[in-house]
């Protein structure tokens, strides 16, 4: 079980390093996060030599997929923001929506998409970048 502990420890260290690199939203730093985790997987493979590298890869990418899913929901779920608004004393539909639209409404989301280089501000307004068009096409395919 030492192998499991070492693999988990290196994975946790990779999560901590990638958290340090994520200054805003995870989606804006996905490339850096993947690089950190690939490095982490290489280190784990070097440390845990008695485990098949394929097994380590399955563990690593499975855990990473789960972590990215949970992390993205924690920072972006509008349902979660509404539960927080209700917990902070908002009681009516108007109060909850006003709080969510103010803090997590279209304006804040456009700012985040621009920060993540999915959208670009141009004299004609906000337009999708190449990265944004690719992400939109992929999302429509997998939806």
């Amino acid at each position: 079980m030492t192998n499991v502990a070492v693999a988990c420890a290196v994975f946790a260290a990779s999560v901590i390093v990638s958290e340090r690199l994520t200054t805003h939203k995870l989606q804006s730093a996905l490339g850096r996060v993947l690089i950190v985790h690939l490095a982490g997987l290489l280190i784990a493979t070097a440390l845990v030599r008695t485990v098949d590298p394929a097994v380590l890869a399955v563990f690593w990418f499975g855990s990473l997929a789960g972590w990215i899913g949970v992390r993205s929901h924690l920072e972006s779920s509008i349902l979660l923001q509404m539960l927080h608004a209700l917990d902070r004393g908002a009681t009516t539909r108007e109060q909850v929506l006003a709080r969510c639209l103010e803090e997590y409404g279209p304006t804040a989301r456009i700012d985040e998409l621009v920060r993540g280089r999915f959208l670009a501000r141009t004299p004609r307004g906000v337009t999708p970048s190449r990265k944004g068009r690719l992400a939109a096409r992929a999302a429509l395919f997998f939806r």
Partner: protein, 145 residues
């Protein structure tokens, strides 16, 4: 392993099956049935072989994480307000963001996280538990809310 197939190959095949199911099956229930079968195949392969417990722990954890991650990714693809806005900006078809956001309040009631009486809403015990868990996770991650 019988037939000389290693647990690594079985677990990679299981994650590939889950990936294919994610692409081909849009319904969460159908995807989860296939994924549960894939995880069960990994568990059965571990039980049927003399694989070390450490290796079994790693592959089962990885397969479960893959299943969870793909489920959450499906939720994001279908429900993400930001993604809907990006698709709309790229010329696709998407709903009004404010309407999407408003619909989530009804979802909270439908999922049993909040109860509504007329225009007023309050958290249920499950809703309060999720808020506490999310707040604890935010503290660990050092994120203000």
């Amino acid at each position: 392993m019988p037939g000389g197939v290693s647990i690594g190959v079985v677990s990679i095949a299981a994650t590939a099956v889950m990936g294919a199911a994610f692409v081909l099956l849009r319904q969460v229930v159908a995807f989860s049935i296939v994924s549960a079968a894939a995880v069960a195949a990994v568990v059965a392969a571990c039980a049927a072989s003399s694989t070390e417990p450490a290796t079994c722990t790693l592959v089962i954890a990885g397969a479960m994480g893959w299943w969870t991650g793909l489920l959450l990714l499906r939720a994001m693809l279908v429900r993400s307000v930001s993604l809907s806005m990006l698709i709309a900006a790229a010329g696709g078809d998407a709903a009004d963001p404010a309407a999407l956001i408003e619909r989530r309040l009804d979802d909270a009631a439908a999922y049993g996280l909040a109860v509504g009486q007329g225009d007023r809403f309050e958290l249920t015990a499950a809703g309060r538990l999720i808020v506490r868990c999310a707040a604890a996770a935010d503290r660990v991650l050092g994120r203000p809310r």
